[in-house]
């Protein structure tokens, strides 16, 4: 099974490396959001560590949504999704491969956006980086677990660019709120023990969303 998930993931990666359709848009959009916040928060320089978690996750989520909107675009061309569905295999494999690809694209975009954030807001976070990576990773897996399923639902609709965020954001809210809270704790206090609650909530929601999305994926692809 993992070989097939890897094949779907590798195919998406190869297409993205050639076209750079998603990553370019995600990076551009994420950095533009940062630039806007950089000017807007000029007067809040003294308490910048308090507001950066929100800025970061707004930027991650907006750029991630752009990527998710493109996730099934290559499958729509030439009815490639139909070719995938004709393969006698568990259709959850398609979901897992696509989710892995979406998560990797989003993590790459997040890494770049994060570096720009450090520069724009003049932050030093060497000590906090392992914890931040953990929060970014869980948050991104949770976000893409739901996003991949909803992207598959919205790809055949006329207003998919509008529909996806409308149905995605309310569902992933528990993960996002706790991701912002966890990031705030990491950047503002050395009390990493208080990270337990937001990380647990994020992990539980990620697991539940992932399992439910995997099980539902087969049904959203049928007409």
């Amino acid at each position: 099974m993992f070989g097939k998930v890897w094949a779907v993931f590798r195919k998406d990666l190869l297409i993205e490396l050639r076209t750079k359709d998603s990553l370019n848009a995600m990076l551009f959009f994420g950095i533009v959001v940062l630039v806007v916040f950089n000017f807007a928060l000029e007067s809040a320089r003294d308490s910048i560590r308090e507001v950066v978690p929100g800025v970061l996750w707004v930027s991650f989520v907006f750029s991630g949504t752009l990527g998710l909107n493109r996730m099934f675009a290559s499958e729509k061309d030439n009815s490639c999704l139909q070719g995938l569905l004709m393969v006698p295999m568990d259709r959850g494999i398609i979901y897992l491969g696509k989710m892995m690809a979406a998560a990797v694209f989003m993590l790459i975009a997040e890494a770049v956006i994060f570096v720009f954030t450090l520069v724009f807001f003049n932050l030093t976070v060497w000590r906090e980086i392992p914890w931040l990576i953990l929060v970014f990773f869980i948050g991104t897996i949770g976000f893409t677990a739901v996003g991949t399923l909803l992207s598959a639902i919205s790809v055949n609709t006329r207003m998919r660019e509008v529909l996806l965020p409308l149905i995605l954001f309310p569902v992933v809210l528990p993960i996002l709120v706790n991701a912002v809270e966890a990031t705030r704790i990491i950047l503002n206090s050395a009390d990493y023990g208080s990270l337990r609650l937001p990380l647990t909530i994020m992990s539980v929601f990620t697991l539940v969303f992932g399992v439910v999305a995997y099980l539902l994926f087969e049904f959203v692809l049928e007409d």
């Binding site: 097939k4 297409i15 290559s74 030439n78 569905l85 004709m86 007409d223």
Partner: protein, 235 residues
């Protein structure tokens, strides 16, 4: 347990899209090795029937059995080709086949896949991105993709759409070879002479059901065209 005599058995098949009935009470039996040409005007239900047989769409009512089981369970025995080739434009021909071979658990190495590509007339083009291919070349690669796992049943939805003369001849010869090799074929087509030349059974779908079902030997092309035209005009 004895093998069922019919490879495909369709009884009382119906498919509704909202209140519109694309298929209603459709009955059809297909024996192993038969080549059926499905005719019918646009919207008659040909594509819907093929999609249900391929397990891509769920029937609203009725039963469909392929080899005694549901179409979803028989996907490994079915090759489905429509005018949409299910080929990734940003991958090369070889990468496309390699990808599908991995998903199908085929132990195909690159040399074997290159042979497949050569077999559909694309020798020397394996490492080119499909985006550079003409429509006919993409359709040829689509054939290699759809039949990569040597399926026993070929479902073809207007496979000649957009093909030039050479491509049409190639596909006709390919399908004749598949039929001669014992494959069972169901092909939706508008071109009566081509369908008549390839198939050994002619079925016309009208208003979501089978309106005409004839062995090719029982009717001349002219007679069939006349009867098909009369049905098509009967709205």
């Amino acid at each position: 347990m004895s093998e069922p005599t019919e490879l495909i058995e369709i009884r009382g098949l119906a498919k509704y899209f909202g209140r519109f009935a694309a298929l209603r009470d459709l009955r059809l039996s297909v024996r192993k090795g038969q080549f059926i040409a499905l005719f019918g005007r646009n919207g008659a239900g040909k594509t819907t029937l093929l999609r249900i047989l391929a397990g891509l769409s769920r029937a609203s009512a009725g039963t469909v059995s392929v080899h005694g089981c549901g179409p979803g369970a028989a996907r490994g025995e079915i090759g489905y080709l429509s005018h949409n080739t299910a080929i990734y434009l940003d991958l090369t021909a070889l990468e496309n086949l390699r990808f599908y071979a991995r998903l199908l658990d085929l132990p195909a190495d690159d040399a074997e896949l290159e042979d497949r590509i050569a077999l559909v007339g694309l020798a020397g083009r394996s490492h080119e991105p499909v985006r550079n291919f003409s429509r006919g070349m993409q359709q040829r690669l689509g054939i290699a993709r759809a039949f990569l796992h040597d399926p026993a049943i070929l479902l073809l939805d207007e496979p000649f759409t957009g093909l030039d003369q050479a491509g049409t001849e190639f596909l006709q010869n390919y399908l004749r070879g598949a039929h001669a090799g014992g494959r069972t074929c169901l092909m939706a087509i508008h071109d009566a002479p081509v369908g008549y030349a390839l198939a050994d059974r002619l079925v016309v779908i009208n208003r979501g059901g089978v309106a005409l079902d004839l062995a090719r030997g029982a009717v001349t092309l002219e007679d069939f065209q006349e009867r098909y035209k009369a049905l098509a005009e009967d709205r």
